[in-house]
Point group: C2
Chain length 618, copies 2
Amino acid sequence: MKTEKFVPFQNVKLNDGFWKSRYDLNKYVSIRSVRDRFEDSGRMDALRFNFIKNGKRPHYFYDSDVAKWIEGVAYIMETDRASMAEHEKLIDELVDRMAEAQRDDGYLNSYFQQLDPDGIFQNRDRHELYCIGHIIEAAVAYYHATGKDKLLKIAERMCDCVWEAFFEKKTAAFSTPGHEEIELALYRLYECTGKERYREMAEGFLTRRGNEHIPDLENRPNTYAQDDSTVYSVSDVQGHSVRAFYLYCGAADMAYHNGDKQLMEAMKRAFYDVVERKMYITGGTGSTNVNEGFTVAYDLPNADAYSESCAAIALALFAMRLRRLERCADYGDVIERVLYNNGLSSTSQNGKEFFYSNPLEIRTSDSRKANIYHRSHKCYAPIHERVEDFKCSCCPPNINRFFAFFPELICVDGIEGACIEQYIPSEVSSAYGTLSIAGDYAVNGKVTVSSEDYKATELLLRVPAWCKTLTAKHNGKEITAEPKDGYLHIIVPSEFTLELDFHIAPTLVAANPEVSANVGRAALTYGPVVYCLEGVDNGGSLNRIILDSDSLKNATLTPDFHGLLSIETDAHRLQAEKNSLYLSLADLTEEPVRLKWIPYFAFANRGESDMLVWVRVR
Amino acid sequence: MKTEKFVPFQNVKLNDGFWKSRYDLNKYVSIRSVRDRFEDSGRMDALRFNFIKNGKRPHYFYDSDVAKWIEGVAYIMETDRASMAEHEKLIDELVDRMAEAQRDDGYLNSYFQQLDPDGIFQNRDRHELYCIGHIIEAAVAYYHATGKDKLLKIAERMCDCVWEAFFEKKTAAFSTPGHEEIELALYRLYECTGKERYREMAEGFLTRRGNEHIPDLENRPNTYAQDDSTVYSVSDVQGHSVRAFYLYCGAADMAYHNGDKQLMEAMKRAFYDVVERKMYITGGTGSTNVNEGFTVAYDLPNADAYSESCAAIALALFAMRLRRLERCADYGDVIERVLYNNGLSSTSQNGKEFFYSNPLEIRTSDSRKANIYHRSHKCYAPIHERVEDFKCSCCPPNINRFFAFFPELICVDGIEGACIEQYIPSEVSSAYGTLSIAGDYAVNGKVTVSSEDYKATELLLRVPAWCKTLTAKHNGKEITAEPKDGYLHIIVPSEFTLELDFHIAPTLVAANPEVSANVGRAALTYGPVVYCLEGVDNGGSLNRIILDSDSLKNATLTPDFHGLLSIETDAHRLQAEKNSLYLSLADLTEEPVRLKWIPYFAFANRGESDMLVWVRVR
């Protein structure tokens, strides 16, 4: 099977600019911050297997938290090992402890071995296979980066144990993971080692799922972990969103490796069900905290949005796998949406603090809702500012690994030539030669792609969905370039310079009319970037702001905000006469105001403030 | 103290028309339906004290459910005792059983005596004082209606027991009710018997509250039952909304009886905090199911509205008590809002089924949200059609008593003369003579008030808040009538006919701009009646409908709907090109449609259907 493959991040060198600065923020600050908090909270000690000594009770998914952090460090090491020397030492120490602690049968889990040895593989909800999956991913990454195979061998022995318990002797009390992840990890191990058994195990877990007749339980319905349907029959994506996307990543990998078109179609259904009905404009998914996941189509509340950072990352990983299956610009569009919005919003400007959920509206006056509860009920109220650590801290190390990995999303080695997927300034060593990508894409909509040694005759460039018209120049001369299936296909010689102008401009975007939360509202976007209003710039009570459809005609753009633009536009601010809660439309008065919009991802970096993405429009 | 008093419903005879038909529906259908369901569920048997025999385990507030039903029956008996003969027999039977079961010390509770005698007055959350309060109210009403004092004596002996346990010996494990209600009931008993002790007990409970330093508990914060502040210091109404209003009813009664201006001002603060910040346009309050109560100002979600039927009733009862304290048209306006909207919506057109919560939007496609849960979390999804009985069935008997009582809301014997508060066709035997109120107020905005024996020189008529202009005729001749403090003050002879035309017209209403849920939306009102769209008339996906500010210019009104009008208006229906979830504003296309609006209260009487009150407007 002739397929298209992403150019691995090892072959991509970021050049200075917006994305390099975010990469460096992760590399120099976030990774260290997560490490320090993981030391504080006992996560590192848990994997040192000295719970008894330090007295800090581990949680049953601590192993996965640390594994994701190791994976992130390993990615950075690929291009700058020296910078991670201190972390490498810590990882080696942890690996030594893990090797010592690993049982003869290969089992390894810091929680179960130290706290609940009788519970091993007895409780499907306790994330053991999920933890193993993340250790596999960390092991593959660390082996790639360092050549050291100690962790890889640990991971392989863990797989032996899983093989025995779930496939050979079937001694485990359950047959598929409660929290999916190991499926995609097993494909990575298969791709790394070439050993068929890992592929067989992944396929086993994937094809069993939905065939096990797992009932609705009192504490969770079977939709929660996608146990209600097989991966072949999925159409209405349900349940915990991170679990769903990890499962679908594994299923897409399966379709990639076995060429199963029916499975590929099922995964495309899953993708479009999400991006056409269940995705925030920021690329966030999973609209409720109740199940950290999906509810029903078009149910996308803003202030109560859950929109977990991990889910945004997982959606990008899923889209990437679908792109490996087929060339379609929709996947790159969704990846771009995640990157510039929910992806970046997860992390503070100082790199040390993180959001777990990423709301699209903050009314600071609502904070008291967090104190409303009765019995087991509780009003959901997202936090208004990022924090360094969470009790359930899955997101920060996932952010660590994703922001070390994202250069892999830039370019695909396609069948006819290279496909530029993301316009991130870099030097890409593609199979077809070195490509140089330059330009301030999210500032002026312009990019330059050039090469001096290009070995194909065609170059493909994704035309972003937000682009309505474009101009292209080849070696300085304007050329006709019509998108075909979402890509420009340009015939190029071995040495060329292509200049693209995607005609970026501020745009008012509407949601599908079925989205009740956004009725009568519009969002401001500028190319790939969703903008928001903050109280610190615009005063509180942002729902009083009203845009006209021509509000953008006097827009001014200022390149002053976190490497991107702030945008000023005209608007009005509504006042109600008296204190009336209900009044006739005519009793609303208004005064003109000038708004300052900032990129959504940059919200909540200047103290607690009201924030609004979807603004009243007429 | 010279005060104004509502003309008791015993002195009001409803005439044929919309409200008489709702009164009769309650009298002939709802009261019987509730009785039958209470027999089925074992509620009646619980008060027969034969739990052991029938095996149906009573709930700890069954007594209050039955007591409210008795109170409703008693109200009807005042004007038509014969019609309730069968119910009277049942009540007498229950009273006999209660008398037999009442302990020597006066204690009576079907749950605690049969199931948990050791728990008596030990657990503040178990509604004992609330149940006693409702039995007191039933006893007073039944005594008034029949002259039979057996239940009244039972209630008085229950009060002896409360006196001992909470005031004299203070043997109870707590000092104020967890669920307020007994305060207002004790004032009714005081007003009925003249015995100072009941007033003293009520004042005791009222002034203790908020001074007991009741802490936040794990299963409920102290705001839940208004334990965070004294009745004197309340400003931000919090917690369970029915509890709050019952407490404030008691406090308003206290201010009435002791003339405490500071307390009256506190109760006015509570009232305006609710009606200016926390009340649905339907008169519903308590926006979340979490605490069945208040969250924060302007948090009024539509599809998830809790808006309990009991809370609407309790708000009307509170407004009525404030009206007794001072003349102000705002109270009558709120009562009118409750009556025509959340009050009526509680009951099905056939009279047999009831809503507990009264949402302002139904998306039938959202029904699956009810199946989304994890651990103790659950997505809230209101039911879409009324049912005959609830496990917690406080609302149906509250509806029974309220719709037997509402004639008392029509007229106040004021200081200078009668004040007409509600324009409900009736003959009112006021202290100033017999007043006849006629007209189809909610159909054509016209009313006629006449008398042949009026004994004051001034007649006051509340000008509804929705009325912008009006014309008045005295004995057929137009007169100048300027509202003063919300009332027309008209000098009349002893024999007169006043014709008022409040110039009713369909109106688009906006919510205060702070109400996030209603940004970009408007509601259609017609006089006191809030209208809604139903899918059965207008197709599904009601959020696709868009109104223009001049949408009403071709409105047609048809007197065909549940005794009131349906209204047709022009509008457009939006279509999104393709399946895009996000698209530029210009990509929304639209087609003209003709809408049919029906009164909100009548929704969900023609099968499950989408429903929307707040409609997109531009």
